[in-house]
Each structure stands twice: as structure tokens, then as C-alpha cells.
């Protein structure tokens, strides 16, 4: 593996509330290599988006990074002053949000928004920036970019707007793009197009992607590696084929078993009983144990740490036991 573009170690995000501190992201570590696509999956509230916001330094107060570090190209960025972090946002880390209908400012022409982004990060003139903006719009597949650059967001459809949002995220050629549920708000027929577009553009530019979604299908198609999050922690992380085809963590197994297929002989869809705990009621030990069919006595007491199995890392006492039992 090449040198990681992004390296997250022991990241912890807390929200102080009147009833105590809520831990939204609890001690997670992962790397994203140059040009790699890391999928991050999990249920709502698992801490996926919060991880993305922490990386780009946009956690809404009173939330805060309470521990760990985030490194971009080896340089620590989680403790930078606001102004320095601002120069990294957009320039070196781009971000795509879920809802293209609300991501664009309705009062500005899309061209102005792109030009503004380009000029915030590079010393180019109005004309040159506009030329770049037209090229970018062409790149993201907007027909007649020359004419449409002066349109307002409401003159575009949802899919088109998400293309514009992608153009904006890539405007300053960042090394990493965080795509937070980029297709969730779109029609199913458009979703695949947008994902393909994002994947192609990032491959062409060598941009690494952190793709946050709850759609395993999107992950399987797009990601190189995948991190499965549960209750603020990473349950399993590894190459997408390994995780999809031979998951180790019981939660991952449940997740994979719950994906419908068109195979006539497929068994009934699996379901995981219960629901993910709320942030103020995360159980002791392994957070998944109340829902886990195979939980051991130990799972009630001790929190499992990620341990390597093959090319993956899994945080589960079952597999840790299996590894130990196999005498490795």
C-alpha cells in the first residue's frame, strides 16, 4: 500500500449535553491511500457522517474532537487554527453532501459559485477561473456547459445539481473527497450515474474518496476497501471483496445477509433483531452484544479492539478467539 493520504488514529468525537457527554465517534482508526476509495457503511447514527465532518473540521459546536489525530499527507490537521483549516477545506479535502437540492446557494448562479471556489484557493483571474468552471462542468457531464454556467440552481434537476456539487468539490483538485451519502436523495435511476461519474473523475485525478453511505450495493460496486461502523466504532474494515464475500464480524454478516438479490434460490433475507443503541445508552463491552446471536460471556464485559484477520481488521471476541484457538 502506498503512503496514506489520510490517516486517522484514535479519533473521538464528543457532544457535551446537559445529561452528560455523548460519544458520537469512539476511538476509530483508519487510513485512506492515494487514489483509494474507502466505503464507510453503517446505520443512521453509527457515526459515519460525524467521522467525515471531523476529518474536514466541520463539526457543529458544541460537538468537538476530544481525542486522537487526523493526518493529511502526514501532517496533523485536527488541531489547526480556523484560517489554516479553511485553506485545506476545498483545496485539499473536498466534500459532497447528501442533498443537492439544498447544497447550492439558490441566489447565486452556479458559475459564480464555482468561480468563487476556484478563486478562494488559487490566484487566478476571473476569466481563467470561468474557463476552468466551464471545463469542470463539462467534466461532470453537463451538456452545453458554456450556456448553462449562468443558470441558477433551481433551473437544474436533482441529478444535475449533484453533478454541479461534484464539480464544486473537485474545483480545486483536492487529494481527498468526502462524499457523505451522495446519492441518497436522488432517484434510483440517477444514483448509478452519479456514483460512476464520481468514481471515474476521482480515478482520473488520483483523488482518494471517503464514500459514506448506507447502501452496500454502492460500496460493493465502487469501493476498494470498506469500513463497517456500529455505534461510533469500526466493527470491521478490509478490502471490499473480503468483507462482502466472507465477513467476520456478526454485524457485518447480518448486514450482508440483509441485501436482497434476484437469485431465485436465495434463502430468506436475514435480519438483525433490535436496533442500534442510542448514543446515551451504548452498552458496556461490545456495543453489538445485545443483538448478537453468537455473543460470548466476555462480550458483556470487555470491549473488543480491532485485530487483523487476513487483510481485514475485525473488532470481535469471536474472531479473536478463533485466531487464538487456531494457534496462530
Amino acid at each position: 500500500m502506498t503512503r496514506p493520504v489520510l490517516s486517522v488514529r484514535g479519533l473521538r468525537v464528543e457532544f457535551p449535553t446537559r445529561k452528560g457527554v455523548l460519544v458520537a465517534v469512539d476511538d476509530i482508526s483508519f487510513d485512506i491511500a492515494e487514489g483509494e476509495v474507502l466505503g464507510v457503511v453503517g446505520e443512521s447514527g453509527a457515526g459515519k457522517s460525524m467521522t467525515g465532518s471531523a476529518v474536514i473540521g466541520l463539526i457543529e459546536p458544541p460537538g468537538r474532537i476530544a481525542g486522537g489525530e487526523v493526518r493529511l499527507d502526514g501532517r496533523r490537521i485536527d488541531n489547526l487554527p480556523y484560517e489554516e483549516m479553511r485553506r485545506i477545506r476545498g483545496r485539499r479535502i473536498g466534500m459532497i453532501f447528501q442533498d443537492p437540492l439544498t447544497s447550492l446557494n439558490p441566489l447565486y448562479r452556479i458559475g459564480d459559485q464555482i468561480v468563487e471556489t476556484i478563486r478562494a484557493h488559487a490566484p487566478v483571474g476571473e476569466k481563467a477561473a470561468r474557463q476552468r468552471a466551464i471545463a469542470l462542468l463539462g467534466d461532470v457531464g453537463i451538456q452545453g456547459a458554456e450556456a448553462r454556467i449562468d443558470s441558477y440552481p433551481h433551473q437544474f434537476s436533482g441529478g444535475m445539481r449533484q453533478r454541479v456539487v461534484i464539480a464544486l468539490a473537485l474545483a480545486a483538485d483536492p487529494e481527498l473527497v468526502i462524499a457523505d451519502e451522495p446519492t441518497t436523495a436522488l432517484d434510483v435511476s440517477i444514483q448509478a450515474q452519479i456514483i460512476q461519474l464520481l468514481k471515474r473523475l476521482c480515478r482520473e485525478r488520483g483523488t482518494a474518496v471517503m464514500l459514506i453511505t448506507h447502501d452496500m450495493g454502492v460500496i460493493a460496486e465502487t469501493a476498494d476497501r470498506v469500513a463497517v461502523m456500529y455505534a461510533g466504532r469500526i466493527a470491521e474494515i478490509g478490502p471490499v471483496r473480503d468483507v462482502v464475500q466472507s465477513p467476520h464480524h456478526p454485524y457485518t454478516k447480518g448486514l450482508m445477509g440483509s441485501i436482497p438479490t434476484l437469485d431465485a434460490n436465495a434463502p430468506r433475507l436475514m435480519q438483525i433483531p433490535g436496533a442500534m443503541p442510542r448514543l446515551n445508552a451504548i452498552p458496556k463491552g461490545c456495543a453489538f452484544h445485545p443483538r448478537c446471536m453468537e455473543a460470548l460471556g466476555r462480550c458483556w464485559q470487555d470491549r473488543p479492539e480491532p485485530a487483523a484477520i487476513g487483510r481485514s481488521e475485525v473488532a470481535c471476541w469471536l474472531t479473536a478467539g478463533a485466531v487464538a484457538g487456531a494457534g496462530r
Binding site: 474536514i56 466541520l58 480556523y82 479553511r86 485553506r87 485545506i88 477545506r89 476545498g90 483545496r91 473536498g94 466534500m95 453532501f97 442533498d99 439544498t102 447544497s103 447550492l104 446557494n105 439558490p106 441566489l107 447565486y108 468563487e116 471556489t117 478562494a120 484557493h121 441558477y152 433551481h154 433551473q155 456539487v165 464544486l168 468539490a169 474545483a171 480545486a172
Partner: protein, 325 residues
């Protein structure tokens, strides 16, 4: 756009006609103006002669027609009290009120918007709390009291600003302005602050609540994620999105400033339309009252029209809607 303009002109005509009818009704029900004009021992023949001269013994439809025809040409007859054409009286007073109202509006906007933006961005800073306290005072103190307090402080105690009048004026055509002389400008300060303080607090609070709303939106988060400078985010992206409701309120308030500057004009003896109106009420000078009513209605109609045009300038989505309808 053309359909929009035509519709607005028709609406405006209906409003003005309604107000004209109301103004005309004033003539019929506020007693006999002749009694106000003549002495107690004026003989009956003289009274009848005056009534005929004023056309008050014509049938009602004829009088109405004459009033409307006059109103269209800005001819509102002769003031019963000062025996001068009403239009001339108003034209003489009009610049004073407009200058006062505009100065108050500028004061309210120029201070109110930055204060609103600041308190919206820095919710918990001590400066925000000071601003909000000032705005609370501005909302809760009645206008005349603010005026009197300002006079007491700046005119009586410190003696730096005049307590009444307009100072020297310079005539530009029919428009007599106080904006070009030092004494005129000095005389404008206290009345403008008195009149504008309430509007300023209104603008501050409105901009603040709108800013709080807008700063939570996705496009502001996205603007941050794109690495734009705070200034561009706050004043470019956020402020512009707060402007539609702010323009509405400011527009209506400018109308209110012009129409209801009466109290401020009375406190400062400002020779504007408000003072003229108060005097005309005291003397049952109906032509002046009617003309004032028409004037104020016309101003509101015009301001509303301008506000609608400003919407279109600020928000491109309204442009499309207007074009489609």
C-alpha cells in the same frame, strides 16, 4: 414581467380610488367647514356665498367628480385655514418629511443590518448582548420619550445639537433641502435618530433571526466545506439569503416612517407633513387632511411596488415565477 407590471398598476389604481372615496367621505361627515372659516357674527348671506364659492351646495356626485378630477391632477383645493392651495402647502412640507424619513431609514439600515449580522454570527459574545440590550430599549421606549431624552442630553446638557426646527435650507427648484448646510445637517441628527431607533431595533432583530436560520442551512455548510473565507460566507452567502424578508419589512417601515413621523415632527417642531397634518386636524382643515391621506396612500403603493421589484432583483426564483404567471 409586463403582465406583472400591468396587474400591479391596476391594483394600485383600485387602492387609490378606495382611499380617495374615504377622503371624500371625510368632507361629508366632519361637519360644516364654513363654520370653521367664518366668524360667529358673519351674516347668513355671506355664509351662503362662501358655500357657493367652495361648491359645497352642488349635488354629491358632482362634488365627488370634482374631487377625483382634482386629485388626479394633484389639486386638492384651498386650505380652509391658511387660504392657500393644499398642493402648494404639501409640496412645501413634503421635502422636510422625506429627508427626515430617509435619514431615519438610512440610520436604521446602516446600523441595524451589521448589528443583526454580528449578533447572528457571534451569538454569545458580550458585544452581541450589548446590541440586544440597546435594541430592547429601542423597542420598549416610546418615540416621544426618546426624543425628549435626546433633546435633554444633546441640546440642553451638552448644547451641541439644536432641539427644534430644520436649520438653514437651500432651494433646489421647488425642493428645499436641509442636507446641504451644516446647520441643516445638525438639526437632522436628533430627529432622525428618534424616528429611526425603533426601526433600527426591528431591523437588527429581524436580520439576527434570519441569519440564525440561514447559517444552519446546507448551502452554508457546503460553502464552509468549499473553504470560502468567513467574510464571503457571512456577508455574501448568508446575508443575501436573509434579504427578502428584510426588504419587505424595511419597505413597509419606510412607508410608516413617512406617514407617521407625526410624533417626532411634533417633538422637534420639524416643519414636515406630520406637523401640517396635526395642525389641520386641530382646525378641521379637511382639504389638507384628505390630501395628506391620499399622499400617504400613494407613498405606500409606490414603496410596495419598489419592494416587489427589489425581490426580483435579489431572488432569481421569483423572476421565473413572475415570468410564468
Amino acid at each position: 414581467m409586463l403582465a406583472f407590471a400591468i396587474r400591479r398598476v391596476i391594483e394600485a389604481a383600485v387602492v387609490m380610488l378606495t382611499v380617495a372615496l374615504l377622503a371624500f367621505v371625510l368632507f361629508r361627515f366632519v361637519g360644516d367647514p364654513v363654520n370653521q372659516m367664518v366668524g360667529q357674527d358673519t351674516p347668513l348671506e355671506d355664509r351662503i356665498r362662501i358655500r357657493q364659492e367652495l361648491g359645497l351646495d352642488d349635488p354629491v356626485p358632482v362634488q365627488l367628480g370634482r374631487f377625483l378630477w382634482g386629485a388626479v391632477r394633484f389639486d386638492f383645493g384651498i386650505s380652509y385655514q391658511v387660504k392657500q392651495p393644499v398642493a402648494a402647502l404639501i409640496a412645501e412640507r413634503f421635502p422636510a418629511t422625506i429627508e427626515l424619513a430617509l435619514a431615519a431609514a438610512v440610520f436604521a439600515v446602516v446600523l441595524g443590518i451589521p448589528m443583526g449580522v454580528y449578533t447572528g454570527i457571534h451569538r454569545d459574545s458580550w458585544l452581541s448582548k450589548i446590541f440586544l440590550t440597546i435594541s430592547l430599549i429601542g423597542i420598549s421606549l416610546p418615540t416621544f420619550l426618546i426624543g425628549i431624552l435626546l433633546i435633554y442630553l444633546f441640546a440642553v446638557k451638552l448644547g451641541v445639537l439644536p432641539s427644534f426646527g430644520r436649520g438653514e435650507v437651500v432651494a433646489i427648484g421647488f425642493w428645499r433641502t436641509g442636507l446641504l448646510t451644516a446647520s441643516g445637517l445638525k438639526a437632522l441628527i436628533l430627529p432622525a435618530i428618534t424616528l429611526g431607533l425603533f426601526q433600527m431595533t426591528l431591523v437588527t432583530r429581524l436580520v439576527r433571526s434570519e441569519m440564525l436560520e440561514v447559517l444552519r442551512t446546507d448551502y452554508i455548510r457546503f460553502a464552509r466545506a468549499r473553504g470560502l473565507a468567513s467574510r464571503a460566507i457571512h456577508f455574501g452567502h448568508a446575508l443575501k439569503n436573509t434579504l427578502v424578508p428584510v426588504i419587505t419589512i424595511i419597505g413597509l417601515q419606510v412607508g410608516a416612517l413617512i406617514a407617521f413621523a407625526i410624533i417626532t415632527e411634533t417633538v422637534f417642531q420639524w416643519p414636515g407633513m406630520g406637523l401640517l397634518f396635526i395642525q389641520s386636524v386641530q382646525n378641521a382643515d379637511i382639504p389638507v387632511m384628505a390630501a395628506y391621506l391620499m399622499m400617504v396612500a400613494l407613498l405606500f403603493v409606490l414603496i410596495n411596488f419598489i419592494v416587489d421589484l427589489l425581490y426580483v432583483a435579489v431572488d432569481p426564483r421569483i423572476r421565473i415565477l413572475g415570468g410564468a404567471s
